[in-house]
Each structure stands twice: as structure tokens, then as C-alpha cells.
């Protein structure tokens, strides 16, 4: 039968053309159906799986108590013995039950296929009519059609109350502008960098003497005072203020306009936060002065204002203007002159 355009719904497709349906093939028997000996063997096999499962479960309990974790893990073949033993015994115990049940079904349960008739998904015409009639009676008795005032005011009320959850969620967090003026270094546009703040090594927190760095050095650094912060405050500031400091031959640097005095004897400092989606970035090649983001492979040229040379980032990394203090340690001339990290609506203002 060919498809007729826009056939009435509910009708099922016909496929028995050009050949007639030969009908279900006759049932054939399995060896276990006709040979009681084989059936017994299958029975023992299934029971064997279940018994093996119980054995594995016992071994699971044994492993739980025998293999030590904590300070002093037992190790077999370089692997954590507890995890491997528990996983294998539990897994095999479960697999044995599963395989046993499946074998039972495949070999011993009656495997004669049976047939059931389908019915169209739609309900019968009588049912439909009865439902429709009931619906109409109900609507009529409610008077919802005759009294539009009630209907419309109810819809209005529900519409308004639906806004309640949205209002209630307002206190999930402050708005960016509320945070911006709260305290020094807070908000999307500021970090705790400021004029005269020393650049210190990440993790150890020691200041960096300009003369100590060699050509080709890379320092992962943060502002001084970072490690006096704690908890959330520390994380928030680290997420914005982290920088990378590199030293190259001074003549290799192509300073951006107005950035002529932002480097110290070939030492430049850039935000470590990628301008694409904000991964920390420090895969630095000393030969090319390129730095690569491990998340999405944006590549920036640190000799040339960290301009994007490859990848999805659209903007250069913000540069931190550097100078040295009286003791010869690297310090910032100011905060970053632009927001660090990914773009956001509101950045332009």
C-alpha cells in the first residue's frame, strides 16, 4: 500500500505486498526441552553460577576486612589492593547472578514466543465523545466561559504570583555593582594590585628581586599580602590577581603604546587569567615568548603586549605595569588598567 497524503490518523501501515505474510514459523525446540539430561545439566550450571556468586560475595567480605586502607594501603602489583579486590569480587558476584539468571531464561524457561494484538494509541470514538461531553459539562457548570471577569482575573493573579519565585531568588547573590564598591579589590573591574604592591612568588610568597631573574625565567606570582587572606576572600582574589612574570632580552619587547615603561630590564608581567573563559595560563615558551592556554589553546605573544596569535581568545592578556622599589624588588605601578578574565556585558563602560 502506498502512502496516501494526509491519510486519516490512527490507521496502521500495511506492508504485506507484494508477498503474502507466511505467518510465524513453527516453534522449534531446544536441546534442553527435549533431553531431560541436558536440562538437568543446565540446571546445575545455573545453580553453579549462583553458588559462585555467593563465594565471590564471601570473598568480598573477606577483602573488606583483610585489605588495609588509610595510612598504610596494601598494594598488589602497584595497585591499591582494597579497591581492586572489592571491585573484582563485588563485580563477579553480581555478574554471576546476572549470567545465571540469563542462562536460566535461555536454557530452561519456556521460550515459545507469544503474540499480543496492538490497539491504536487513540481512544475509541465513544470514549472521546464521552470525555468531550464531560469536559463541556464541567466547563459549562463552572461558568468559566460565561464569566470572563473571573477567568481573566484568575489568569492575571496566577501570572503575577508566578513571579514570586523569581523575586525570592533575588538574594542568591549580590549584583556586580553592589560588590564593586564594597571593599578594595572587589568586583569585576578591580584586583588587589595597586601602586607599590610587591610581586611575590605563588605558593611560597617570597618577593622577587629583579636582578635575581635570568633571561628565560618564568615566575607564577601573586600580589604581596595574598596569603594573609583566607577562605573565600583568598580564592576570589587569587582568581583575579594571579600573574605571570617573564624575563626576556629587553630589545625583544615590542611595548604597546603608552606601555614603554611598564617593563623592568626585560621583565614583563601579565594577567594569568585567559581572556577567553578564564583558565589560568602559563604554558610559556621561552624561545617564542608565546604562552598557551591549556583549556582551549589560545596563544598570546608576551613580547608584544600579549596579543592573541592563535586560538579562540579575542583580547590580549591585561598587562600589569612593573617597576622596582628601593630594595630592588618588583612592584606594581598600579592595578590592571582593564578588567581581567573573560568578557562580560558591562565591561565596556
Amino acid at each position: 500500500m502506498s502512502i496516501q497524503p494526509d491519510k486519516p490518523s490512527g490507521e496502521v501501515a500495511k506492508v504485506s505486498d507484494p508477498l503474502p505474510d507466511p505467518g510465524l514459523p513453527a516453534h522449534t525446540w531446544r536441546p534442553t526441552d527435549v533431553d531431560e539430561g541436558l536440562a538437568k545439566r543446565a540446571e546445575r550450571q545455573v545453580a553453579g553460577f549462583f553458588a559462585a556468586s555467593a563465594v565471590f560475595t564471601v570473598l568480598f567480605f573477606v577483602s573488606y576486612f583483610v585489605f588495609k586502607v588509610g595510612d598504610d594501603w596494601d598494594v598488589t602489583g602497584g595497585l591499591g589492593a582494597s579497591t581492586v579486590a572489592l571491585g573484582l569480587t563485588l563485580g563477579l558476584a553480581l555478574l554471576c547472578i546476572g549470567v545465571g539468571i540469563i542462562q536460566w531464561a535461555r536454557k530452561l524457561m519456556t521460550d515459545q514466543e507469544i503474540m499480543e494484538m496492538r490497539h491504536p494509541a487513540r481512544s475509541s470514538d465513544e470514549d472521546r465523545e464521552a470525555s468531550l461531553a464531560a469536559l463541556n459539562v464541567g466547563l459549562e457548570e463552572s461558568g468559566i466561559a460565561r464569566r470572563p471577569l473571573i477567568r481573566n482575573s484568575l489568569f492575571g493573579a496566577i501570572g503575577v504570583i508566578a513571579l514570586a519565585p523569581i523575586v525570592l531568588l533575588r538574594d542568591l547573590g549580590p549584583t556586580p555593582s553592589q560588590v564593586e564598591n564594597e571593599e578594595e579589590g572587589l568586583g569585576l573591574e578591580h584586583t588587589i594590585w595597586k601602586a607599590g604592591k610587591r610581586v611575590v612568588r605563588d605558593v611560597v610568597g617570597t618577593p622577587i628581586r629583579a636582578a635575581d631573574l635570568q633571561i628565560g625565567d618564568l615566575v607564577n606570582a601573586v600580589p604581596d599580602g595574598m596569603f594573609q587572606l583566607e577562605g573565600t576572600e583568598l580564592q576570589v582574589q587569587k582568581a583575579k590577581a594571579a600573574v605571570i612574570v617573564v624575563r626576556m632580552e629587553p630589545e625583544e619587547i615590542v611595548p604597546g603604546p603608552g606601555r614603554e615603561d611598564w617593563s623592568v630590564e626585560g621583565i614583563v608581567c601579565y594577567s594569568k587569567i585567559c581572556t577567553h573563559v578564564g583558565c589560568p595560563i602559563s604554558l610559556y615558551e621561552r624561545t617564542t615568548h608565546h604562552v598557551l592556554c591549556p583549556c582551549h589553546q589560545s596563544t598570546f605573544d608576551l613580547a608584544d603586549s600579549a596579543k592573541v596569535v592563535f586560538g579562540p581568545a579575542a583580547r590580549e592578556l591585561p598587562q600589569l605595569p612593573l617597576s622596582v622599589d628601593d630594595e630592588g624588588f618588583l612592584v606594581a605601578q598600579s592595578d590592571f588598567t582593564e578588567p581581567v578574565g573573560p568578557s562580560y556585558w558591562g565591561r565596556g563602560q
Binding site: I3, V15, L19, P22, E116, P312, W345
Partner: protein
């Protein structure tokens, strides 16, 4: 079932007790022996269902020790290299589960493997449903529910692997913050509301935890229940074959065979997950260390199901434009905020688009082989190619290092391939399906290739073809004869086409395109003609028809009395 005199007394008593309170008899009568057709590809969805159960079980175990708090503490547990390091309580409790709770690391790894398998099995289940046409009327809504399950599963995975607050997942959360901020107008507000202030704040882990263990699992459970109810109501689709029609369903009864097979499969999925959890390390958070916004690792990738948007994020050029002086980050919006939601919408609409193009409003319960719907098959292969390329792009750094290639060249290649690949895949798949259809047609008309080479008296060689069995022939022809949709020519007295004419034109063109090159099954007359021809041929070679000389009795097409290949069992 209400107690019957036949039943043993105990079972009868329990059944009676339950039925008098719950009235189960009516429902059980229909469902205890409900028929489910048997085919391996019908069990792919079961993998998803059972791995979800494994997730619930292992997940509950993990909640007993996990502490979803971002309060900083100094780790003093038994993992030496991190002792004394400041970290959040969630990371510390994850380390505690891994190193100090017996079986804790196993449960963590089982949970993670089960999550990967859960989403992977949903995807292959979806492929099966699509390639066999099982999404057609009346099952469109179940397809939509399935798409939502896939979306929710993915979100559940993301919220889950972010919970330990380790370096790798924290990098992912940071990227998610970047995605939120890229949303025009409200981006930074969304970020501040989600994180309770500036990134990373101290709220994100507890919030993700609530979403992960309450909100999304609740929705998943509800949708899975709806998915299963609709499956039971519609009855399962089946492959066409002798005796298997659109009006019936042939298979094993729910009790005992199907219940045993499904139940057994649960234990197998559970067991396989346990073996994987015990043998294969997944997400070794102790190697990453706690999240620290200044740290990062090479090979920072999300879990595999988030890999394809990440791949798009890697290959998109650095496009950003400005509107009202504000940045519009196309380099984030296209890969994350536009393409993945679009892909989901396309997936959900596929049944409706196809039904609209074909104009087919009938119910379908017989499955179609992928080759018999070349355009449909090609559409999905094309989408899969897009997905696969984007996915591979998400691992470009590992491809580069394993295959000695350059990241840059892989990226340039992917930028082109992401457009060419799907188009090429569409073309090749469609032609491939059509040639398979021709192959089927040949088998129907001229029989199958026996592998027996005949030499004619003139010296020419030819391969002997023999007709396929009646059942095989019926199975091959048990499909629709397709006809492109044409608009009904409604023209009013002035000769102006009825409204909707232009859309009708597109629809008609698409419908023609969809079916244009398909091979339709032969008509009765064609079959007759071909068989007549074959008989003539056969008569010429009849003299050569010695028994068991040509070997065709062992080719699986014919049963041969008294000749068994494998003995009785």
C-alpha cells in the same frame, strides 16, 4: 492476580490480601504476560535504566560521607602528599571517602563510570531508535522525553563531577563562569547569582550539590517513569518478519522470560560497573589536588559528554564584536550558548520534521532498517559526524601529542572539517544505503550468490544464484512503498493557489528529495517476471544439480534435513 484455586495456598493468600486493598488483579492480568520482542538493540535503553539504578545506589553511599561545603580546612587525612594543604571540606571529604572509607574509592569510581555509561547508553539507545524509525507516530512524545533525559543526564553529570572541588573540575566550573558571563546583558548578573557573588565564592558547591542529588534526580525519575509508562502503553516496536505485523507484537512474555532477562541484565550492568570501578582509575582527584584559581593542568578536559561543546570552543576563531559599547563574545556564545541548545532542539524536532515532510500520519510499529530510509539515516550520520568531529577537537592536545601533530594544524583542519565532514557523511551514507537497497532488490529478484562458479559449454564463467527462502523474501519486502508528498491541487475559480502554497512547495520538494533515489520494493509483476527468468536459467543448469556438491546447504539460507553443523546442542 486474584487467588485462583489452582495457586498454592500461600501465594494465593498474599495475592488476595493485596488485591483486596490495591485491586492489582486488573492491571496484573494485562501486564504479567505482556509481550516484549527480543532483539539485542532493544536492550540499549536498559543499560541506561540500570546504570541509573547503580548511580542511585552508589550515590546514596557517597552522600553518607561527602560534605558539600566550601569552608577551608587544612587536610590532615591519610594521603601524605596533600597533608597540610588548605582545601575545601568537599575536597577533604572526597579524599576521606577515597582513602579512609573502605570501599569508598570503589564506590566513587563506580559512580563515575556508571555516569559515563549512563549518558553513553542513552545516546546509543537514541541512535537505535532513530535509525530504525521507532520515533514515528505514536512515539514522538517519548522521543522528546528521551531528549530531555539526555539533557538532564548531561547536566547531572556536570554538576556531579564538579562536586569534589578538585583542580580539574574547578577549572571546568571556572569556564562555566566564563560562559555565563558571555550571555548578553544579564551575563555578569547570572554569574553573581549562581556563585553568590564573585567567582568562586563559597556557595557554588552546596548549590550544585542540591541540584545534583535532589532537583535533577527527581526530574530524571519522573521522566524515566513517564518514558516507561509510554513504552508499556504503546507496546514495543518489532522488526518485520513472518507473522510480525503492524497489528501484533510477537515476543516473550513479561513473566518469566522478559523479567528474567531484564533482571539478569541489571546484575550484569551492576557487575560490569563494579569491575570497572575496581580495575580502572577514574577521576583521581588526589593527583589534581584541591581547586586553586592560579593552578591548571595540561589536558584540562571535561568529562566526555561535555567534550563536544569544549571542542567547538577550541576551534572557533577569536570572534568578538561590540554592541552599544559592550562586548558580544561570539567565541563563547556560538560553541556554548547557541549550537548545543540548537542541536537539542533539532533532535527533539526530528520526528515532527520527518512527519511533516512525508505527510505520513499512520501509526508505525514495525521498524525500518536504516538502509530503507537512506535520507533519515544520512541525516543522523551527518549529525553524528558533526558531533564526533567536535568531540575529537575537544581532545586536540592529546591527539597532537599522541600522533605527533601540531595543535594548530589540527585546529585549522577541524575548522574546515566541521562543515565539510557532515556534508560528506550525508552524501556517502545516503548513497551507501541506496546501494544496500539495490543489493536487497537483487537478492529478491535474482536470488542470493551461492559462491558456486559455473562454467558454460562456451567457456564463460558465471556465479550461480539461488532464490532466497520465502521467509527471507517476505522480511525483505515487509516495508512501505514510498511516495513523495504532493500538495492537493486546490485552486479557486480565479486560478489562484490556496493559501500556504509556498510552504507546500517546499514540503513537496523536500519530500521528493527524501525519497527520490530510494529503491522501492518490487511489485508482484516484477517478482513474477524475475522468477520466471530464474526458472528458465535453472532449467539450463538443472543437470548439474547434484546434492551436497555446491555447499549451499551450509550458507544459512536453507535448512537441510538431516545435516547438522553443530550437533544437537
Amino acid at each position: 492476580m486474584a487467588a485462583t484455586p489452582k495457586k498454592p495456598a500461600k501465594v494465593g493468600a498474599v495475592a488476595n490480601w493485596a488485591d483486596e486493598r490495591l485491586g492489582l488483579g486488573g492491571a496484573m492480568k494485562k501486564n504479567l504476560r505482556k509481550v516484549f520482542p527480543d532483539h539485542w538493540s532493544f536492550m540499549l535503553g536498559e543499560i541506561a535504566l540500570w546504570s541509573f539504578v547503580v548511580l542511585l545506589l552508589t550515590g546514596v553511599f557517597l552522600t553518607l560521607w561527602f560534605d558539600p561545603s566550601m569552608a577551608e580546612i587544612e587536610y590532615q587525612g591519610s594521603f601524605d602528599p596533600l597533608r597540610g594543604v588548605e582545601m575545601s571540606r568537599s575536597m577533604a571529604s572526597t579524599l576521606n571517602i577515597s582513602f579512609d572509607v573502605r570501599g569508598g574509592l570503589l564506590m566513587r569510581q563506580m559512580h563515575h563510570w556508571a555516569a559515563s555509561i549512563f549518558i553513553a547508553s542513552m545516546m546509543i539507545h537514541m541512535m537505535r531508535v532513530y535509525f530504525t524509525g521507532a520515533f514515528r507516530k505514536p512515539r514522538e512524545l517519548n522521543w522528546v522525553i528521551g531528549c530531555l533525559l539526555l539533557l538532564l543526564g548531561t547536566l547531572e553529570g556536570f554538576t556531579g563531577y564538579s562536586l569534589p572541588d578538585d583542580l580539574l573540575s574547578g577549572t571546568g566550573v571556572r569556564a562555566a563562569d566564563g560562559f555565563l558571563k558571555a550571555t548578553p546583558v544579564v551575563g555578569s548578573y547570572m554569574s553573581f547569582f549562581l556563585f553568590g557573588g564573585e567567582f568562586p565564592g563559597d556557595s557554588i558547591i552546596p548549590r550544585l550539590y542540591t541540584i545534583h542529588i535532589l532537583l535533577i534526580p527527581g526530574l530524571l525519575l519522573g521522566l524515566i517513569a513517564a518514558h516507561m509508562l509510554l513504552l508499556v502503553y504503546h507496546k514495543h516496536t518489532q522488526w518485520p518478519g513472518p507473522g510480525r505485523t503492524e497489528e501484533n507484537v510477537v515476543g516473550f512474555p513479561m513473566l518469566p522470560v522478559y523479567a528474567a532477562k531484564a533482571g539478569g541484565f541489571f546484575f550484569i550492568v551492576f557487575g560490569a560497573t563494579a569491575v570497572m570501578g575496581g580495575l580502572l582509575t577514574i577521576n583521581p582527584v588526589w593527583k589534581f589536588g584541591p581547586y586553586d584559581p592560579t593552578k591548571v593542568t595540561a589536558g584540562s578536559q571535561p568529562d566526555w559528554y561535555m567534550g563536544w561543546p569544549d571542542g567547538l570552543l577550541r576551534i572557533i576563531p577569536g570572534w568578538e564584536s561590540t554592541i552599544f559599547g559592550e562586548p558580544i563574545s561570539w567565541n563563547i556564545m556560538i560553541p556554548i550558548l547557541i549550537v548545543p541548545p540548537l542541536m537539542l532542539v533539532i533532535l527533539m524536532l526530528l520526528p515532527f520534521i520527518e512527519a511533516w515532510i512525508t505527510g505520513d500520519k499512520r501509526e508505525h510499529h514495525l521498524l525500518e532498517r536504516p538502509r530503507n530510509a537512506p535520507t533519515r539515516t544520512a541525516v543522523m550520520v551527518s549529525l553524528m559526524t558533526f558531533y564526533g568531529l567536535a568531540w575529537a577537537a575537544g581532545g586536540n592536545d592529546l591527539i597532537a601529542i599522541r600522533l605527533d601533530l601540531s595543535i594548530n594544524q589540527i585546529t585549522y583542519f577541524m575548522r574546515v572539517a566541521i562543515f565539510l565532514g557532515p556534508a560528506l557523511a550525508f552524501y556517502i551514507t545516503r548513497r551507501w544505503c541506496i546501494s544496500l537497497q539495490r543489493h536487497d532488490e537483487n537478492k529478491l529478484l535474482h536470488g542470493y550468490e551461492t559462491g558456486v562458479i559455473m562454467r558454460s559449454p562456451e567457456g564463460g564463467y558465471s556465479e550461480r544464484h539461488l532464490p532466497i527462502s520465502e521467509n527471507a523474501a517476505y522480511t525483505l519486502t515487509a516495508r512501505d512503498r514510498e511516495q513523495a508528498w504532493t500538495p492537493s491541487q486546490k485552486v479557486d475559480e480565479n486560478g489562484v493557489a490556496a493559501p500556504g502554497g509556498r510552504l507546500d512547495g517546499i514540503r513537496s520538494k523536500l519530500s521528493t528529495l527524501m525519497y527520490a533515489d530510494n529503491v522501492q520494493k518490487p511489485t508482484a509483476a516484477e517478482l513474477e517476471e524475475a522468477h520466471h527468468h530464474a526458472e528458465h536459467e535453472h532449467a539450463l543448469t538443472a543437470a548439474l544439480d547434484g546434492h551436497s556438491a555446491d555447499g549451499h546447504q551450509f550458507d544459512g539460507h536453507h535448512a537441510v534435513e538431516g545435516e547438522n553443523l553443530r550437533g544437537d546442542h
